[in-house]
């Protein structure tokens, strides 16, 4: 490690440049490479940010078994991040690794949906966020198995096996807590009401999504909605929870416009690389 921490450089991009890994040449917006890079960072940033959020439970979960389960799910998500962001760096072609993309970008270059950066709040809230995400993630990966790009299909097949277990677990716990005690039911309904306006962004397409879908690289986000609606309705019914009215959706995360929560998360996650650029062990 360097003897003096460089905490006086506030800009992560400047640090990246200092480390010789800055983005010297930008991919041209609208080019196929830029579209693919964007699509891949959306996938990798979703798993990275959710993985980090879930890892915040390590040592704090209500019971030991849940602590271990949460840590394992976080581990799966971070592992998948390495694959998605690794491929994104390869497509970009400027030598940025998955680690560079994770630790040396600032909030406006993250493309995750707003749902995954929502704070954990209580255990039920964390589980509900996980379920709403998993119910999208699993069919998304199924669709990506059909990608025209074999590298994407390969990652989707690998990740899909892991995510099938995530969905099984989160759905099961939503049912048990929703259809549990008066207290757990109230907390799960509250979590659902609070998180519902953040679920819709998963299905909103912008021009990048449209072009990626046209090229057969990634599915049209809207095409995943019917399956998601059906599985969510089934689980919520069994959990005796009420689907909130309306489909208003907060959006912007996929385009790099985030809530204040992401900045706080990155401050923790990226602290070491900001304080000690290039630290390795």
């Amino acid at each position: 490690m360097p003897s003096l921490p460089d905490i006086m450089t506030p800009d992560a991009e400047a640090l990246a440049k200092a480390a010789g890994k800055g983005r010297r040449v930008r991919l041209e917006a609208g080019s196929p490479e830029h579209d693919l890079f964007t699509g891949l960072t959306r996938l990798g940033d979703n798993t990275l940010i959710l993985g980090h959020r879930v890892s915040e439970w390590c040592g704090h979960a209500p019971v030991l078994e849940e602590d271990i389960a949460l840590a394992n799910i976080a581990l799966d998500l971070i592992g998948q991040t390495q694959l998605w962001l690794g491929l994104a760096g390869e497509i970009e072609g400027h030598g940025r690794s998955a680690d560079d993309l994770a630790f040396l970008r600032d909030a406006w270059h993250f493309h995750n949906v707003l749902l995954v950066e929502r704070p954990n709040r209580d255990f039920g809230h964390t589980l509900m966020r996980q379920f709403l995400f998993d119910a999208w993630h699993q069919p998304m990966l199924k669709a990506l198995e059909e990608s025209a790009d074999d590298r994407i299909a390969d990652i989707a097949r690998k990740a899909g096996k892991e995510v099938a277990y995530h969905l099984e677990r989160s759905a099961d716990l939503v049912i048990r807590l929703g259809d549990g005690t008066e207290e757990s039911h109230a907390r799960m309904q509250d979590a659902l009401d609070r998180l519902w306006p953040y679920a819709g962004e998963l299905f909103l397409a912008d021009e990048v999504d449209v072009r990626l879908a046209h090229e057969g690289l990634m599915p049209d986000p809207a095409s995943l909605r019917p399956a998601w609606d059906a599985s969510v309705a089934e689980i919520l019914a069994e959990a005796t929870l009420t689907r909130p009215d309306g489909d208003f959706a907060h959006k912007g995360g996929k385009q790099g416009r985030h809530t204040e929560h992401l900045g706080h998360l990155l401050a923790t996650m990226q602290w070491l690389q900001r304080a000690y650029p290039g630290a390795d062990w």
Partner: protein, 169 residues
């Protein structure tokens, strides 16, 4: 002189899995290929789970074993397709897992659960994971995620011992 690949496979069979040392990395089914490219030995390894923390330790162990045997030029290639499956665990290794206290994977109990569903429809009974200690079929799932991502936590209702189950993927 280059040892033939069969010999290299035998050497790799001496490398234990770092988390489950009773079975080797070849029995686990994560070595996908061994080949010579001129004077370089290329070993293709597939990860069990994409975030498995043992992966880097396994690579280190492979390299150490091969260097010990006098091979100098080694390239370790990561391959994620086709994705690793518990079906690739050697039959003999499943017995070793059981003796070690880990219930080996049972076909059809995966998250997709196709076989488990069929068995349940035909017999009205679910597939059970027998206790590796007392053999009782009366066991219950505690959590789908156990001591590592590849295992689920179970408990035996007869002998009351908690145990790991190597879940199907």
């Amino acid at each position: 002189m280059q040892p033939d690949t069969e010999t290299v496979w035998r050497w790799l069979d001496e490398v234990p899995d770092p988390e489950i040392p009773v079975i080797s990395i070849t029995e686990l089914g994560i070595i996908r290929d061994v080949e010579w490219q001129d004077d370089t030995l290329v070993v293709t390894v597939t990860p069990t789970y994409s975030g498995c923390p043992a992966t880097s330790v396994i690579n280190l162990e492979i390299e150490r074993k091969l260097r010990e045997r006098g091979i100098e030029k080694i390239v370790l290639k990561r391959q994620i397709s086709p994705p690793w499956s518990t079906d690739w665990i050697a039959e003999a290794a499943k017995e070793k897992l059981r003796a070690y206290g880990i219930a080996p994977p049972i076909e059809g109990t995966g998250a997709a659960g196709v076989v488990a569903g069929r068995v349940r429809r035909l017999t009205g009974e679910a597939l059970t994971v027998p206790c590796p200690r007392c053999g009782s079929p009366d066991t219950q799932l505690v959590s789908q995620f156990g001591s590592t991502p590849c295992k689920a936590a179970y408990q035996c209702r007869d002998c009351l011992e908690p145990f790991d189950y190597f879940k199907c993927i």
